[in-house]
Symmetry: C3
Subunit: 356 residues, 3 copies
């Protein structure tokens, strides 16, 4: 592989004493939940971007998301009661509609005219519920990244895990899959594929950033049907990123030397969508095959292998996980970090733009 | 009910980043413990107003309260040994009397002349042990709020629960009992009594603040003996507040339209006395009937219904639970908050006066 | 005993709001681990002076200690894999040698030239692994305090306990053994020996500080063989201190009135070596006899008696455990604190010198 860019971490840096703020990017779509997570008339309480929210499905099948603090005494509306498309506060019964406006005061016919809670734009798409965290008039649903590839015929489990790390630390992990060779050595047994692979990171005209690995002339994986047992294969792993941390992985195979259009089986696609819960914890949305085996594999890879590593890194970095603070640590940068570096730069740019 | 005063909580306020100090009101009596809590010669360790204290009963039956840190090596005296009305430090044996003065140095006949610990004025009254947190020369026992009504003949359990919330959040809860209609819907089954009731908040010439609910021409409660089964009743709930958070609830009944003097049964009285442990935790002193049923009811109402709600509000408000910081959040104010608003204003006034 | 120096703790001081920094002394040897703790090819992860480290034994039997964060993505090297005297990072496989230099990049023949981790001077001595936390060119092994007395023939257990307190709080405890009379009353049954003993604190020409207790003309301890049952004994307890907190206790006996040279049995020696883990937690290295009885005694004395007391003091002092902040509390000082005061002053002097 090509030229390495290398920087050094100063020897005696004390991470814990460095303090930097966390700044959430606002004018962007975040996934709040999978549709599957919101059962019937239930009220789903979830912390997102360090604020409490309640999410529910309306009678017409669309979704609403409200700030989860009643502005009277700051009680959590999610512990209240659904009445049609409104929620009655569990503390003193003030009722709020799906637009966040107070529609009933049980102690008076007079409705407090200024009582309301936040109600950001919400759109259901690709099995997920997305919300816009910034100016409502900029909330164009066409800006939701295209995850139509995951809306497949076969039944899939739409899973979520809470990771104890800043979303940029998790993005570093996902955007460069070469770590599979090491952390997931026992699970995936790559046997050096990545060490012999070709890597590139780039971005396209739509603003997506791509991290691409290609393995040429490798043996056919045992589980790949429809190809001769002794066939030689080319393989590609393309991870596509959209701000702030919505990723789609495509894994495909062709007979060695053949173009992608001639792939004997459709490419496999997996969403890896991250939404910050707090500065140090992140909702990780994924899909997997149903069944105990796939569940066990997911638990092994996510919770036993990735999670402890990312938690350790979060502990080491603290508030230096984000933005300029990360670069202040002068991390060593390798060629395989090309996409990761582009992502971190893009996020810094977006934060600067929103700061004006 | 009358005109609503309504304010609004700004949409995107981030509670967790707001930082305000907590200021304890000093020149006031606080309950430190029920007398029942101090068994025999025991040393009761308790954090009050964010400082550690040790409380014990002297040979003459009166009580002493000492700062719980030996000024030599800062060991907790409560882990030491009683010797008459003195405590020997568990670490190096320095002994302190009930006035906080060092009376023995086991390593020398010379007593460290300046060694002493705090010993605020303490008075036992109405089954409780009260202490004065301010200037000792202002500690007039006549200023202890009158809880003689709770010194009843029948045996009562004197209970204490630690609530994970600032005492003003708990006061908001107690001073306005309309929340009973919602949080305690399953326990108390008020069935809309409060929604049809009359409310007023006022203060009397002694400085007490009153929150009063009245329900007119209602059915006789099933448990109210001595009244015809089909009688119509008037009912009153009066919560009396003294600074900083010592409350007494009186619940009474008359035949509909008759004056209180003609009440067929004596009014029921219950203390609700709050003393801050820290900025975010509070000792809640109460009484209840003996027996498993009353214990289960108390646990249900306090620990299962009120506590989670108040904990959630504390989590949302953080340091904005107190003083001006609370009003900075521009909470919606309803008519039923008349007494709560008076209490919060009084506390701000007292803090300002003590700050000079 | 002689004149008492007495100061007073101001009555209403609020410890928790006082904030002072913790400053680690750098140009000094610290014990990182007992050799026994590093088994075979294992990688020992340990936080020391509030930084993460990994310690291992090299093929030649000597030891290496490396900063435990790979400078690429800050993964803990201790979760990686040994390859001879190098460690491969568990995340992306970068390899580091015992000098902290990157020796292999699995994705390229090009080694990141500036990639390295800290590798302080390390020396194995007196069964322990010691490291120098300051300028490497000042790391003279001759400055390691002499603990050769503990390298005895008989098999000893080399133990370590993590204490939840700043090392100065623990030093206060160890440097003045008179607390044995109180905290360890049930375990050691001193029965007033210290109250009748003679105490002095001094320092020698090598810079060591000594805390000395002497008990004259006392009964022979039942367990002391080789002396007549009715013999009268003199006893000495000498605790020797070297910066920052490496202590050696010597306990000896002579027939009453005889010089130390005529001691009928060799003196007993015990190391009490403290190395800060963080500002509020400390590694405590000790030795004890093998066997269940000695283990139970150690657990009783350390974990049941000393530890809760020191934890309570840490909780009370917070960041005031160290340096000038401690004296700002105006602690009462007794004659028995002579060595403790010298130690605290020495540490302040060393910190001032290193600050320049």
């Amino acid at each position: 592989m090509g030229l390495q860019l290398c920087f050094i971490l100063p020897a005696a840096i004390t991470f814990v004493t460095m303090e930097h703020g966390v700044t959430y990017i606002r004018n962007v779509w975040y996934m709040a939940a999978w549709e599957e997570e919101i059962e019937g008339d239930s009220l789903l309480a979830r912390r997102l971007l360090d604020k409490p929210w309640v999410i529910f499905r309306k009678a017409d099948g669309s979704y609403a998301m409200l700030g989860n603090l009643c502005p009277h005494r700051f009680a959590p509306l999610s512990q209240g009661r659904r009445k049609g498309d409104t929620i009655a506060c569990p503390y003193h019964g003030l009722e709020y509609d799906a637009a966040g406006l107070c529609t009933r005061n049980p102690f008076s016919d007079l409705i407090p005219p200024h009582a309301r809670v936040d109600a950001p734009p919400v759109v259901a798409r690709h099995r997920g519920v997305w919300f816009w965290a910034g100016d409502a008039d900029k909330a164009d649903p066409a800006l939701i990244p295209d995850f139509s590839a995951i809306e497949v015929e076969q039944p899939m489990v739409h899973g979520r895990t809470l990771f104890p790390a800043h979303y940029e630390i998790i993005t570093d992990n996902l955007i460069d899959l070469s770590h599979t060779e090491f952390i997931h050595e026992d699970s995936f047994r790559m046997n050096g594929k990545f060490l012999a692979g070709q890597y590139s990171g780039d971005e396209d005209e739509t603003g997506a950033i791509w991290s691409r690995w290609a393995f040429y002339d490798t043996p056919r994986p045992a589980w790949l049907y429809g190809v001769a047992a002794d066939a030689r294969m080319d393989e590609w792993l393309d991870m596509r990123w959209h701000a702030p941390a919505s990723m789609l992985l495509e894994v495909g195979f062709t007979l060695a030397g053949r173009p992608r259009e001639e792939a004997p089986v459709p490419a496999f696609v997996n969403p890896h969508i991250l939404t910050p819960e707090t500065a140090e914890t992140t909702h990780y949305f994924y899909t997997r095959q149903p069944g105990e085996e796939a569940e066990a594999m997911t638990r092994q890879v996510f919770e036993m292998e990735d999670l402890p590593m990312l938690e350790a890194i979060q502990h080491a970095l603290g508030a230096s996980a984000e933005g300029a603070a990360f670069w202040d640590l002068k991390p060593v940068v390798l060629n395989i970090d090309a996409a990761a570096v582009r992502v971190r730069r893009r996020l810094m740019k977006l934060r600067r733009e929103e700061a004006g």
